[in-house]
Amino acid sequence: MNDKISKTEGHHNEPTKPALTPLGTPPEAPALPRGDEVIHTGPEFAVGEGDVHSAEAGEIVAGSSLWKDAWRRLLKNKLAVFGMIVVILLVVASLIGPAIIKRATGYSYDLIPRENALNKSFPPFRGADGSFSWIHPMGTDNAGRDILARVLSGGQISLMVALISTFVSLLIGISYGATAGYLGGRIDDLMMRVVDVLYSLPYIIIVIVLLAMLPAKTPTGQLAELFIALGAVSWLTMARIVRGQVLSLKNQEFVLAARATGVTTPKIIFRHLVPNTLGPVIVYTTLTVPTVMLSEAFLSFLGLGVRPPRVSWGSLAAEGAQNLAIYPWQLIFPGVTMALMLFCLNFLGDGLRDALDPQMRRE
């Protein structure tokens, strides 16, 4: 299985050779994989050297074994497993934490206590009278809001922005890269030249102008603007990766077979080619999530991203940085939580790359 995978990986950017089989080879035609069938196969299917029958017969078994293989390799990587556990814990805590805190203490991320005495920043684990208390494990902010609740709610927003923006970048990157790779020739040249040009643009400057000039009316609108802005600038690498994969796949026999049976070009691209690029795409996606998360925090830190009353890790860090000298915990907790999340996502991404893509493994 392993050497089979490496075969496709090796072809990344090489010009593809013309297919050897002449166009309508009759005996194979009836056994051709239909679009719906191909979609269930893993990346290994494309690698099977032409024997459609055996590939079809062993489809399910082979498919699960590749992912099982990768899973086994991933579990061997201690750092990646650690990263995965922490990421899962943080995600779960962000999802259910705020509700639990609300039940236990009555605080939520935007609840400002009515009593005047509580309306100031407490250090971690301190109650109103300065004695030890469990009520605010991360302390409170200037308005007396519970920082733990804010960090967890901020996590929800940060995660949501990161995931949806990554999804937007996936959509654009995969369609663009697969189209360019499959069509090839002049169109490919032109499309990839556009990507090269966009690569060297200082796009973050334009994103800043965009967000500063067109602040949305509602917090939800602001979030939508962030998704689009961040997704639209982070698809370039994805497009390159998918194109490279498609180039190495498009002259294989299953594509030829699909073409021979008259499958339309868009269908070939999206139902036959794209599912086969899944491995590298998954790897790059896990590495995109932390990058996008960081960009969101950067914009929120500048006051251009998530706006009050919503909070994200970036806007919490911005608030905390202002009261740094007197209330350092206001910065430290959101900052460290975010750094931990990024740290673990990066390790998980590296681990996934090593597991799914042994050729790309760092020495």
Binding site: I208, M213, E363
Partner: protein
């Protein structure tokens, strides 16, 4: 080579055009303008001011003026900082940002290449693991968290360095911002150097150099580094784009009067000439730097031909 450079410069011109048009279009599309602030001006005063800055003309006249300004690299007068031309502000703020960015990148090169090389030469030793773990931390800590933490520790607890101040190029006030800005580059460069060196150290020409009887130190410094650093050189192009994002944050954290700080303020103030001036300046800098990196690449790797 010369043809390559000329071709690249020809590509830069339409790109500048696109960037400027986008920026200008965004400013124009947005509701409101510089004068819709909290302080209401008398209608007559506003009309006069608009006439003075040419804001009363038709949109195509104004757009044409933006392009003409770009061609002459003269962006007119700032709306917010009265009586100061955008160029004055640019030439005052740019050296500040450049000093910061340059020191940060220098620190990153020295520290990153050293740790990366050490890690590669002692692959799978504790030095290797420790430096790669540190690199991962460097990539994961956002600079707007690192900066304030450094201020808290060195500025407000130990009182070794000023928490926020700008004193000119070689000064104590530069240390913390430069370190904050360099952290992520140290990490990237260390990782790139390590993988580059690992690959090179296994190649045939290194075996030849060793077989000639060169000392290990000479093999590494004279032969391996030249090839092993190629990824670092090509990283330097995109690094400049990163550096701009970095300086925007670091300049705000440390209250440094550089381009990034002016840029954010100009965006919030809707100071149109200043926004366009800074965007154009940054775009020219990034595109020009990318070109320089490509040229440098050709000198470092004799196999590359344009």
């Amino acid at each position: 080579m010369l043809r390559f450079i000329i071709r690249r410069i020809i590509v830069i011109i339409p790109m500048l055009f696109i960037i400027l048009s986008l920026t200008w279009g965004l400013i124009r599309l947005a509701p409101g303008n510089f004068y819709t602030g909290e302080k209401k001006l008398a209608p007559a005063v506003e009309a006069n001011l608009r006439a003075k800055y040419g804001l009363d003309k038709a949109w195509y006249v104004q757009y044409g003026r933006v392009l003409w300004n770009m061609a002459r690299f003269d962006f007119g007068t700032s709306l917010k900082y009265e009586g100061q031309s955008v160029n004055q502000i640019l030439w005052r703020a740019f050296p500040v940002s450049a000093a910061l960015g340059f020191s940060a990148y220098l620190i990153a090169l020295v520290v990153g290449i050293t740790t990366g090389t050490l890690a590669a030469l002692r692959q799978n030793s504790w030095i290797d693991y420790a430096s790669m773990a540190l690199a991962m931390i460097g990539i994961s800590i956002p600079n707007f968290v690192l900066g304030p933490l450094l201020i808290l520790f060195f500025g407000l607890t130990l009182f070794w360095l000023p928490p926020a101040l700008w004193d000119g190029f070689p000064s104590k006030s530069l240390v913390l911002p430069a370190i904050t800005l360099s952290a992520i580059y140290i990490a990237y460069i260390a990782r790139l150097t390590r993988s580059g060196m690992l690959e090179v150290m296994r190649s045939d020409y290194i075996r030849t150099a060793r077989a000639k009887g060169l000392t290990e130190g000479r093999v590494v410094t004279r032969h391996a580094l030249r090839g092993g650093l190629l990824p670092v050189v090509s990283f330097s192009g995109p690094a400049l784009a990163f550096l701009i994002t970095g300086t925007v944050v670091v300049e705000r954290v440390f209250a440094i009067p550089g381009l990034g700080n002016y840029f954010i303020n100009a965006c919030f103030n809707r100071d149109e000439p200043l926004i366009i001036g800074i965007v154009a300046f940054i775009a020219v800098a990034v595109l020009g730097f990318n070109l320089l990196v490509d040229i440098a690449y050709g000198f470092m790797d004799p196999r590359i031909r344009y």
